[in-house]
Symmetry: C2
Subunit: 207 residues, 2 copies
DNA sequence: AAATAGTTGATAATTTATTCACAAACTAAC
DNA sequence: GTTAGTTTGTGAATAAATTATCAACTATTT
């Protein structure tokens, strides 16, 4: 995979592009120019072109980009075709909701198995085996790099164990602060934090 | 409020600081130095000090920061004490989960009311009135700036109406691309996008 | 009370990210 | 074909964000 130091800021925009491209594709648009796309996503055309250029020469001069091809490339690059293996830690309400949507809208990967301390939640749910969390080290499948964390007890201790098992990316649904060593990435999915950012940002807009 | 052009990157870190500070406070730490905090959040001490300096002179040379005071300031600045009024659009599974947790862990504000097209979902749920979405314009309380969007139909049209009603910030739980004019901020809360970012980021780490 | 050790906050230097500007490459019309 | 009109992709310029440096200050020790 061509992946030569893509800026962090660019990484954050890729999912935005992908969503927008899908919307365009769904409404019958088969080719798009950076300027058109710019109107859709509120990002400068030149930024878009530079962002895209990290993934190869995707466009054609005088023509633009082929939407389908672009989506395909993004799918590949953003892991959709990788069939990224995921594990889920915590099989409570949120965990079960995620299992239910396992084969997501547009598949990122697949939840291979889940872990929970509560015996009532163990067994098979929505086709996914849920193991006892204490068996994490033995039951975790090979090659899993990303864990989705929806647990609510002993969070830091669990994270430490996950990292020992080779996890390098965590999607964090907890509302707590988690400490990880360098080399491990965390993405918080958190309403409260999102609202906080918005409150501050919109205050800035007003004043 | 002192709010002179806080960098976007800084805004994204504020919720991280707040969580970490709460954790510290809960474990009995009453004062902290930028270097200590750095170890906890994996952000350079000097970046931390700069980030904090936008909110005033919060620290003391040769001493550090008072954790409680810091939390208080953050609460104020990040809207917690503002009692920010929120509305919820969409009262399905996700919407109801949010209503249930309305008075969040650490209160951001309050969901004043919700809207949904489905009559079955209207009425009062968890103490929050749920109105028909078609009455949005008449039922939306004064002074609401932020909407939480968990609807799944006619998303773009609904967003347009929200903006007409004065909404300037949207917490977006949908998986679709939404188009908004400049001056309106969106924060996507989206597992799939989060995983996508992680997949790419962790690929970068490995290769 | 003076000296020392240690920390913030401001400024300067550096790094990272965005935007400009234009050559090269393509399409479409003739 | 050839030419005019577009649009990409990228080197260079600009802007933004991060990190380093240091003066000013605080607490503590002597």
């Amino acid at each position: 995979m061509a992946n030569k130091n893509v800026p962090k800021a660019t990484l954050q925009r890729y999912p935005v592009y992908l969503k927008a491209l899908r919307k365009l594709s769904a409404s019958g648009v088969s080719r798009v120019m950076s300027k058109e796309l710019s109107n859709v996503v509120n990002i400068e055309p030149t930024t878009i072109r530079r962002d895209f250029s990290f993934l190869g020469n995707l466009g054609k001069q005088g023509y633009g980009y082929d939407v389908k091809k672009l989506i395909e490339i993004f799918n590949q690059q953003l892991g959709m075709d990788f069939d990224e293996k995921l594990i889920l830690v915590g099989a409570g309400n949120m965990g079960r909701a995620l299992m239910k949507y396992n084969r997501w809208d547009y598949v990122v990967g697949e939840i291979k198995c889940a872990f929970d301390i509560n015996p009532d939640r163990q067994g098979v749910r929505f086709g996914i085996p849920v193991y006892d969390l204490k068996d994490l080290e033995t039951k975790i499948p090979n090659g899993v790099r990303i864990a989705i964390l929806t647990a609510s007890n002993d969070i830091q201790a669990t994270v430490d164990r996950l990292i020992d098992c080779g996890i390098v990316g965590i999607v964090d649904f907890t509302h707590e602060h988690i400490q990880v060593p360098k080399g491990v990435a965390i993405k918080a999915v958190d309403v409260v934090s999102s609202i906080q950012e918005l409150v501050f940002e919109t205050n800035s807009i007003i004043e």
